[in-house]
């Protein structure tokens, strides 16, 4: 029986609680009265994954079965979410590969020869062959990659983009030409959190900068409350308008999957358990890990964490028309991650772990750490933020991993040049975004290397626009003071220091809420 998420109030019997902080974690003693939000335990998974995939393709929602949408001589394009999902990458076989195999089987049975498979990475970095192989599986990779039929979407390849028109609000809709001109576009998604999927999949994943910039900007982001509730998210509203326009031009068959909460495999699975339920063995594991991490050089810690593969299990799969499919998907995600929370607090505490969507096989630089904490975790709410307006966010991360110039070249310049000038998301856009977005060197690296697009750090900063707008102060426990200051934040050595610093904003006895994640949780704040 799966236990739901719940809110614990720290008392004198509460053991120290686990808090993630980059390539490590600490056991923190929170003040009595602190609310700790625990995510629900994993939902039961689908016992017969292959059968569930088959069932979803044969009995889709608001659509003919996939088989009936295929015919000889047609152009079929299969697009799939890139390596930013799920986190960490799942143990092989990846669910996307298993779905793509079945789609290809049906296509072969229906005599469809013209098939191309595109990684919908928008302005993310190109995946390496190994990363691509991990997602689609060895067989699909060997069959399609050598002939150039399996590839990364290129948002800067002007010759292979199709401008499909503008929405009623004047938003340009420009996506991958192959996808736009196909008889059928099958999208294979992993819906890790509620903000994923729906019209975001094609409308953003296969789009160009010209199209994406309409919703990825400070104004839209600050009015998205929250990203996890697409009906109240300005960004999603824009993506929905675009998706509907795309739907007028190309038939989209959306396949969405949801996962349970098994974020870590052994030996890190202990980190997912609730602290007071740790067995002696769990306690020994945690102690051993802490001791080992304390003496391990950063490179080794990086390898230890980034070699982790998750144990995610499939909790559901739905296929068919985009919007009804996504409604069912969001319901399942909410069922897995939603926790009811009564009221807001003065202080919100979050541990930023080693991994976010944009540093898979790379480093969590300060901008990404800020985005993970103030973008993803802060926004992981329904109705209203966990922390009250004018409250304080306390985050844990050392902010010391530096920048990976292979994957994040423009981040270095953004950090050194843009943030040195201003940290205001509303100001950096007009002043710097276009320069970075059109910088030929960044464009070159995005297209030919494994680099995020030049504009990507701006999007990270826009992600945190809502938090910056809402919060009175942001303090990083254990954070590099220079990095924190560069981003306009403060740093503290301990939680006690951080709370003392926060007292000037929220008073000496603030109410505190700690989001105990990962695993993922969605705070439904009443």
């Amino acid at each position: 029986m799966t236990r739901p998420g719940f809110v614990l109030e720290v008392d004198d019997r509460t053991p120290p609680l686990l808090v993630h902080e980059g390539l490590g974690f600490r056991l923190e003693e929170f003040p009595q009265g602190t609310r700790v939000i625990y995510p629900p335990e994993s939902l039961p998974t689908v016992p017969d994954v292959e059968g569930a995939i088959r069932e979803s393709l044969e009995n889709p929602v608001d659509s003919e079965p996939l088989r009936e949408l295929m015919f000889p001589g047609m152009r079929l394009t299969i697009a799939f979410d890139d390596l930013s999902l799920p986190l960490p990458s799942m143990k092989a076989p990846d669910i996307r590969g298993r779905i793509i195999e079945q789609v290809l089987t049906i296509a072969a049975e229906k005599g469809v020869d013209d098939v191309e498979i595109v990684a919908a990475l928008a302005l993310h970095r190109r995946m390496t062959d190994a990363e691509m192989r991990h997602i689609v599986g060895e067989r699909v990779f060997r069959s399609f990659a050598p002939s150039g039929k399996l590839y990364n979407h290129d948002a800067e390849d002007r010759a292979n983009l199709e401008h499909m028109g503008q929405t009623e609000k004047g938003e340009d809709v420009e996506i991958n030409k192959r996808a736009a001109t196909s008889d059928l576009l099958v999208y294979v998604n992993v819906n890790l959190v509620a903000m994923d999927g729906g019209h975001k999949s094609v409308g953003i994943g296969l789009a160009s900068y010209k199209s994406i910039k309409h919703h990825h900007n400070a104004k839209t982001m600050v009015h998205s409350r929250s990203f996890m509730d697409h009906k109240h998210s300005e960004m999603h509203s824009s993506a929905w308008r675009m998706g509907r326009l795309i739907g007028e031009h190309v038939k989209v068959f959306q396949i969405e999957t949801t996962l349970d909460n098994e974020v870590f495999g052994k030996p890190y699975d202990t980190l997912l358990k609730r602290e007071w339920e740790w067995s002696l063995r769990d306690q020994a594991t945690v102690l051993g890990l802490r001791r080992g991490l304390a003496v391990a050089p950063q490179k080794m810690r990086h390898k230890m964490f980034h070699d982790l593969r998750s144990n995610y299990g499939l909790t559901g799969i739905t296929a068919g028309a985009v919007e009804p499919v996504h409604e069912l998907t969001v319901q399942r995600v909410h069922q897995q991650q939603r926790v009811k929370v009564e009221g807001q607090s003065d202080v919100m505490v979050m541990g930023v772990p080693f991994l976010g969507p944009y540093n898979v096989n790379s480093t969590m630089n300060p901008i990404l750490a800020a985005c993970m904490g103030l973008g993803y975790y802060f926004n992981s709410y329904l109705r209203q933020p966990v922390v009250r307006e004018g409250g304080v966010a306390i985050l844990y991360h050392p902010l010391d991993e530096g920048f990976n110039t292979l994957t994040h070249p423009s981040y270095v310049d953004f950090y050194e040049e843009v943030l040195a000038d201003t940290t205001d998301p509303a100001l950096i856009g007009p002043k710097f975004e276009e320069q970075f977005a059109t910088d030929p060197w960044y464009v070159h690296l995005y297209r030919t290397s494994n680099a995020y697009h030049g504009v990507h750090p701006f999007y990270m900063w826009y992600w945190i626009a809502h938090a910056l707008d809402h919060l009175g102060d942001v303090i990083w426990v254990g954070g590099n003071p220079r990095a924190a200051a560069r981003m306009g934040f403060r740093s503290a050595s301990t939680l006690r220091d951080a709370l003392e610093m926060a007292s000037s904003t929220v008073g000496p006895s603030p109410s505190i809420t700690y989001l105990r994640n990962p695993p993922h949780l969605l705070a439904d704040v009443r």
Binding site: V412, D413, E416, E417, Q435, D439, P440, W441, H444
Partner: protein
């Protein structure tokens, strides 16, 4: 008179060259081929020469290079050991000199040209390009490219020296000695700005924010129509000064190439085997105001194809592949040119607000504290000083 004298010592020079980088104290201690001596005041008994009482004499990067054994042996025949260093000089004439009366306060253009040597003007001197004089080893006085490198004339690190009328520029009324002291390095900067041949709107990179770099920045800003001037500075106070002197942007050495790449939309190329990265594209003009291998390499690697690299600091060796492949114009800039009126321009610039503020930071030392003075000069950037000088009038 009291003077500091540089003498020939192969052992000290070698020690300074080998170990000075790792043990900087050696450069002002056991490895310094410099001594304090009592000498007979130098006197050149030829027409146009007069005695000058030194008020202040600066310590230049070239002096430090020479004392620490870093200067190329190329220059060995162009000096006459032993000699009294010091070529940035402000002082008062002891004797009348041509149209100038005794007691006149002057600064000197240190180049010892045909005129000072009693020779008929060589082709360069005849054109007014006195800094390119071809006769700096012959004539009435011994070999020496400048005052401060010539045995017969003496130099500024003493109480007195001999100067030729052709070298003298009267200090305008109202200028302090410290301001006047800066006239010679500013004249060099004026010449640098001319040699940079900056076109309107050109992007310029000045590598280094010591005295040479800062003054070059001022000259480029005041005398050319340069667009963006990016200055590479190591220390916080240098950053502030560079902005005061006309820099558009100041960057740290480690971020120079990246910032130039961003500003010029260039492509960054990173060769294998630890070779230095370089740009395809870059700024129009770079000025190496340090003279180190790293600085020159940065300049070569940050200049666009067909651009110009100006060697303002005494240059170190560097990989010249970029100069060949990118068809760069690598031009030297040495001292100042009398025909172009560099000194007159410099004396005007010395009145600039930023220069007045800078003059107040000149750190003067008496001659007998020469080790401290040199130590200070070696660490000037770190200690927040732009110019260290000797004041032979001081006794404490």
């Amino acid at each position: 008179m009291l003077a500091l004298e540089m003498y020939r010592s192969v052992a000290k020079t070698a020690l300074g060259k080998v170990a000075g980088g790792r043990m900087p104290l050696l450069l002002t201690g056991a490895a310094a081929p410099l001594r304090m001596v009592t000498l007979e005041a130098p006197r050149v008994e030829h027409e146009g020469w007069a005695r000058l009482r030194v008020s202040l004499s600066g310590i230049c990067g070239s002096d430090l290079g020479m004392l620490s054994g870093r200067t190329s042996l190329y220059f060995q025949p162009l000096v006459s050991l032993p000699f009294v260093p010091g070529h940035e000089i402000v002082g008062e004439l002891i004797d009348p000199c041509g149209d100038l009366e005794a007691g006149t306060r002057v600064v000197i253009d240190p180049v010892l040209t045909c005129a000072a040597r009693g020779l008929e003007a060589c082709e360069a001197c005849a054109r007014g390009e006195t800094n390119r004089c071809s006769r700096i080893t012959v004539g009435d006085i011994s070999s020496g490219l400048q005052t401060g490198f010539c045995h017969d004339t003496g130099g500024g690190w003493s109480q007195q020296l001999s100067v030729h009328r052709s070298q003298l520029h009267v200090v305008p009324e109202g200028y302090s000695d410290e301001q006047a002291l800066l006239a010679e390095p500013v004249a060099c900067a004026v010449h640098t700005a001319r040699r940079a041949a900056v076109k309107p709107g050109d992007r310029v990179l000045v590598s280094g924010a010591g005295a040479v770099g800062l003054l070059a920045t001022l000259a480029l800003r005041e005398l050319t129509d340069a667009g963006e001037i990016v200055v590479v500075a190591k220390h916080a106070h240098q950053r502030e000064l560079a902005l005061q002197f006309g820099a558009t942007e100041v960057v740290a050495p480690s971020e120079t190439l990246r910032r130039i790449r961003r500003a010029t939309s260039a492509f960054m190329i990173e060769p294998e085997m630890m070779a230095a990265p370089y740009l395809l594209g870059g700024v129009d003009v770079t000025v190496d105001a340090v003279g180190s291998k790293e600085s020159l390499q940065t300049c070569l690697h940050a200049t666009r194809a067909g651009g110009r690299v100006v060697l303002s600091g005494m240059p170190a060796s560097a990989d010249l592949s970029a100069a060949w492949f990118r068809e760069l114009e690598v031009v030297g800039t040495y001292a100042s040119s009398r025909g172009a009126g560099d000194f007159a321009t410099a004396l005007d610039l010395v009145g600039h607000d930023a220069m007045c503020r800078l003059a107040k930071t000149v750190a003067p030392y008496p001659l007998h504290r020469w080790r401290e003075a040199l130590d200070h000069a070696h660490s000037a950037g770190r200690l927040g000083t732009v110019k260290v000088a000797f004041d032979p009038r001081q006794t404490k």
